[in-house]
């Protein structure tokens, strides 16, 4: 799995919201950081050393990120909105050549082989040489005065440069502009397309994303968490509806200062986003819609954050520094994303039909086309469906053993929320690898429920006889004789047939004693007392060996009693209610120990009888004896 690891810090001590931009540097290992409106630093991010740095005079303000042009072998930046400074990497910035423009410049873009690009504030783009030559001329505005640029980028294609720009009006109307520049003629081809968004949503962040086919898409994260992927080829002069290009929904809260960047053909990174009320940097797989990795962010992210990816590291301005998270994009496969529990949600909600199809396959016994990821995805969509609860389908999933342990932690709370005792019982019965946490969660739920809730669970007749036989017999005896109730058997247990079967199913499951004891400590004391009393009854009537599946034998009951006593020892000491039942248990165990010791002493006599030998006379060997010693 491509996973970021420990973060490194750059530009420690910079002011909040003072980072203007991060751009590519002299080579693959260097980056250009422009910050505090006066400073430009070139860092080797691999060796983590500063290569060069320049500072402007206080009267000048840098208004666009500095870029390095390999074509010109120079650094360029925009000062005071309409002056471009160009200087060599070994010279001082005061010696930079300055070009003053009539109109303000929005940003400069650098390309690998071609000239830098100038994006004017009015939306027009120009090659640097042409822009400089025509700097005294007025260019016709591309965007209206009501619009302002919210995001822009430029990439070099085979024969031309493509500039992409998104504008916004005060009424949150968005428009995409794509301009293509062909060198040396500098012919500009422009297309623009208004964006149609759902009411109340707006664009939070954009980035360019290169697909596996070497084509470029515009990734657009909307404020409601929808992630759109609009191919640049789709941008014509017609309106674009974002619903047509919705890719996934990121299942987290999108912050106002969120920034996204593409980290490869199949991944996109976003930060900051809230997952479980924690600010994180999340990396999602675009193909499978799964969360590949998340990194909790301990420091607050800058208001105007800018997530930048250089192919090896992700850079994010946080607090008073820029954090770099190593991240190497790798080809994603289905196997690499299997097991991811948190993924993007399919907004089209196509799961219900798929579920029906799957169930029909299950009924037909055709399991060849099933994959665990598919089942997982369908199950998740079924659980998230608030309108209808596909109980029969889920029951079929459970009985077919298709629910994996990775999804059980979501599945069980949902069933508890629905108070579906029968489905829970079936899940505990059929599903393997139930964690101790889940087991105690279910046990707590069982103990909290009334007996009537278990009416659906019916034990087979022979099982009832095994489980509840002694209790039922005792009850019949009490009723016939008109005697008082047996003090050791609470009245509720006599109606516990369904509940007892469910609890017995849990008691007979496999567990890890260390983990289970920690989980049992979370149970409330009143429920612990009920369980203790039930275990006491089971101790008195449990079979020596397990006679039926789902029925705990006496060893398992003893282990549960021991675990419960260990888990709530201090509570039992302090709580007087528990003393009575504990004393009964002590008395019963003492009797049992005595009985078993006597039985153990019978074993050698029985062995002798079996071998038809004469019973030996008791021979007392004291401290003194005479015996034959052979020294060989």
């Amino acid at each position: 799995m491509d996973a970021p690891v420990k973060a490194h810090e750059f530009l420690h001590g910079i002011d909040k919201s003072s980072l203007i931009g991060i751009t590519h540097g002299l080579d693959a290992d260097t980056l250009v950081f422009t910050h505090s409106r006066h400073h430009i630093v070139v860092e080797n991010v691999k060796d983590r050393v500063t290569v060069s740095s320049w500072s402007m005079k206080q009267i000048h303000h840098i208004t666009a990120p500095a870029v390095y042009s390999p074509n010109r072998n120079q650094f360029l930046t925009v000062v005071n909105k309409n002056v471009i400074h160009c200087w060599d990497k070994d010279s001082k910035i005061e010696q930079a050549k300055k070009y003053s423009f009539q109109k303000p410049i929005h940003q400069l873009f650098s390309t690998a082989t071609m000239e830098p690009i100038i994006l004017h504030a009015n939306g027009r783009v120009q090659l640097f040489s042409i822009g400089v030559a025509q700097r005294k001329q007025l260019l016709a505005a591309l965007i209206s005065t009501a619009e302002h640029i919210v995001w822009s980028d430029a990439v070099e294609l085979n024969s031309h440069i493509m500039s992409v720009m998104v504008t916004q009006t005060k009424e949150y109307e968005y428009k995409i502009y794509i301009q293509a520049l062909v060198d040396p003629q500098s012919t500009v081809e422009t297309v623009d397309a208004p964006l149609l968004l759902q009411a109340g949503t707006h664009v939070s962040s954009c980035c360019l994303h290169q697909t596996i086919n070497k084509k470029f898409d515009i990734l657009m994260l909307l404020s409601d968490g929808q992630l759109c992927s609009i191919p640049t080829e789709a941008v014509t002069h017609q309106s674009l509806n974002t619903m047509d290009y919705n890719l996934h929904k990121i299942p987290c809260t999108v912050e106002k200062n969120v920034s996204i960047t593409s980290t490869g053909p199949s991944n996109v990174a976003a930060a900051p986003v809230k997952l479980d009320n924690i600010d994180v940097l999340g990396i999602w797989n675009l193909r499978f819609g799964t969360l590949v990795h998340k990194i909790p962010l301990s420091s607050p992210v800058h208001k105007a954050s800018q997530l930048f990816y250089n192919g090896e590291q992700l850079f994010l301005p946080c607090a008073d520094s820029v954090l770099a998270f190593p991240h190497e994009s790798q080809p994603s496969t289905l196997a690499s994303v299997l097991g991811m529990s948190t993924g993007m949600v399919d907004p089209m909600n196509r799961g219900s039909n798929e579920t029906e199809k799957l169930c029909s396959l299950l009924k037909a016994g055709d399991l060849t086309n099933l994959t665990s990821s598919k089942v997982k995805q369908l199950l998740q969509s079924s659980l998230l469906d608030t309108k209808a609860f596909p109980r029969d389908n889920l029951l079929q999933f459970v009985r077919s053993g298709l629910i994996r342990s990775s999804i059980l932690q979501d599945f069980v709370p949902k069933l508890i929320q629905k108070k579906d005792v029968y489905l829970l019982h079936e899940a505990m019965k059929y599903l393997p690898d139930v964690s101790d946490f889940t087991m105690v969660q279910v046990l707590d739920f069982y103990l909290s429920q009334e007996n009537g809730a278990f009416s659906e669970i019916v034990a087979p007749p022979q099982e009832i006889a095994t489980l509840m036989g002694p209790l039922v017999d005792r009850l019949a005896e009490v009723n016939n004789n008109g005697a008082d109730e047996d003090a050791d058997v609470p009245a509720t247990y006599r109606q516990w047939t369904g509940k007892a079967v469910a609890i017995d199913q849990l008691l007979s499951m496999k567990y890890n004693d260390v983990v289970l004891m920690q989980e049992l400590q979370k149970l409330q004391l009143d429920r612990v007392l009920v369980l203790l009393q039930y275990l006491y009854c089971k101790l008195k009537h449990s079979p020596i060996k397990e006679e039926a599946t789902g029925t705990p034998d006496i060893t398992q009951v003893c282990d549960w009693l021991s675990l419960l006593l260990d888990a709530h020892f201090s509570s039992f000491v302090l709580d007087k209610k528990s003393h009575v039942i504990l004393l009964k248990i002590v008395a019963f165990v003492s009797d049992q120990v005595h009985v078993y010791n006597e039985l153990a002493s019978l074993e050698p006599i029985l062995m002798q009888l079996r071998e038809q030998l004469q019973l030996p006379t008791q021979k007392y060997v004291g401290d003194y004896c005479i015996e034959i010693l052979c020294i060989r």
Partner: protein
């Protein structure tokens, strides 16, 4: 340590390494589950051993990752946990190095010797020496405890084993008469008994504590009740003893603290101090008297063995010194020969008359390593001639775990296979002595009997307990 690293063990079972120069903590290891009681460092200071309130001994080794051993590269030195050693059953309270061996001792009373590599574990049980004495003629056994003595009459059986008719090994014979305790003699003011002795006919009993010797006359006539008469007036020159031994019927040999050997003529009224053989200021380790009562062999911790004539009060001879300590010695029942076993289990037979080793002894010295089994045979506690062998050609040696019988004639005829016989089913042997032809008295202290007297081991919490 030499580099001023300070190692500390605490009551939580942690072993901490501190830089003594800067006072900072370098490393911490959870060595034990409970208190650390002892730490030991080897001579090279690259191995540390740790013992405490649990049976295991933890080991830490210094690993040097850097190129040098100077102060600059000291930061590259790390201590890492190494192979633990398990020799004991209870707490380990003391550790020390003896050469390449780690010597450990603790609550289980055993002395453990271990080294690695190769993995070698030797456990030496604590068996008290010279605490049992047999009066062969009277079939009485005297047991020496810390502050009292007990005299027991041995039991009997009706089964007579004929020579050449063997019963099964370990077969119990029915007792016609059980052992009977005749006497328990407590010291005054709980004085600690240093040594004791009983004469072969059980008429005389003597013991010594730190300040004086006490002599008693016993009357064991079965028709009369037991009578014990204390001899009150001992000669003034008699000193407290380290070893006591009766020679013949009326002489008591007293080995004093200074290595002197005093010859006392016992008498119920007025014992006499007949002679005092000056020692060499070394404590006596063994003292034995010949069956005829004329000679006494004394060995001391300077590894010398001297034979005295206690009738004419002269030194007869001194045996050549061996590099090892004497482990056991005994006189030949008939001839004037002395059998000595050394700490390395080598056996020599010395002719007092010829003042040289016997021919058997020389031959056995050459064959011994071929005869002895390869494994560790333990130390020898006592040696004796076979009581039923009229030719006195069989030797019985015993350690704490095995009885060995060496057939001298087999050695003489160079029959390697049949010269050595071993019995190792009795643990731990405190005393083995012949009481009559074909009879051996063996006093055993079983490991179980030791274990029940020990305090409980560290309780380990298990779930459900």
């Amino acid at each position: 340590m030499g580099d001023f690293t300070i190692v500390a063990g605490d009551s939580t079972g942690k072993v901490s390494f501190f830089n003594g120069i800067h006072g900072n903590l370098l490393q911490v290891f959870q060595a034990n589950k409970a208190d650390v009681l002892t730490l030991c460092l080897n001579e090279e200071e690259n191995k540390l051993f740790c013992g405490g309130v649990e049976p295991g001994i933890s080991q830490f080794e210094k690993v040097i990752a850097g190129p040098g051993n100077d102060s600059f590269h000291r930061d590259y030195q790390k201590w890492v946990p190494s192979l633990p050693r398990l020799l004991h059953t209870h707490d380990v309270k003391s550790l020390c190095m003896a050469g390449e061996f780690l010597v450990s001792g603790g609550v289980d009373t055993n002395l453990g010797l271990s080294k690695y590599p190769p993995k070698t574990y030797i456990t030496l049980p604590h068996i008290p020496k010279n605490s049992v004495h047999l009066a062969e003629k009277a079939a009485c056994l005297m047991l020496q405890y810390a502050d009292y003595l007990e005299v027991w009459k041995l039991g009997d059986t009706a089964v007579e084993l004929e020579m050449g008719v063997e019963g099964g090994d370990g077969e119990m014979l029915p007792l016609t008469k059980g052992a009977k305790k005749l006497l328990q003699l407590k010291t005054r003011n709980d004085e600690r008994v240093i040594c004791s002795a009983i004469s072969r006919d059980a008429r005389w009993l003597a013991y010594s504590h730190t300040s004086a010797i006490h002599l008693y006359q016993l009357s064991l006539d079965e028709e009369k009740p037991l009578s014990v008469h204390r001899v009150k007036y001992l000669p003034p020159g008699v000193q407290p003893a380290h070893h006591l031994c009766f020679a013949g019927s009326d002489r008591l040999l007293v080995a004093t603290e200074t290595g002197d050997v005093q010859v006392l003529e016992v008498d119920s009224v007025k014992p006499k101090l007949l002679h005092n053989f000056d020692g060499c200021q070394e404590a006596v380790s063994h003292i034995r008297a010949s069956n005829c009562g004329r000679y006494a062999a004394v060995s001391n911790f300077s590894r010398t063995v001297i034979v005295y004539d206690i009738i004419e009060f002269k030194k007869v001879c001194a045996m050549p010194q061996f590099p090892q300590q004497v482990a056991a010695l005994c006189f030949h029942p008939r001839d004037l020969e002395l059998l000595v076993v050394y700490a390395d289990n080598s056996v020599v037979e010395y002719s007092i008359a010829e003042k040289g080793y016997t021919s058997w002894s020389r031959r056995y010295a050459k064959m011994r390593h071929q005869m002895e089994p390869a494994e560790h045979v333990g130390t020898t506690l006592n040696v004796m001639y076979h009581p039923s062998d009229e030719k006195h050609s069989q030797l019985i040696l015993h350690g704490d775990k095995r009885v060995r019988c060496i057939d001298k004639t087999e050695v003489q005829s160079r029959k390697r296979g049949g010269a050595l016989h071993v019995c190792d089913r009795i643990h731990y042997l405190v005393h083995v002595a012949p009481s009559a032809p074909d009879w051996l008295v063996i006093v055993e202290r079983t490991p179980q009997s030791i274990a029940v007297t020990l305090p409980p081991t560290l309780a380990v919490k298990k779930f459900g307990t």
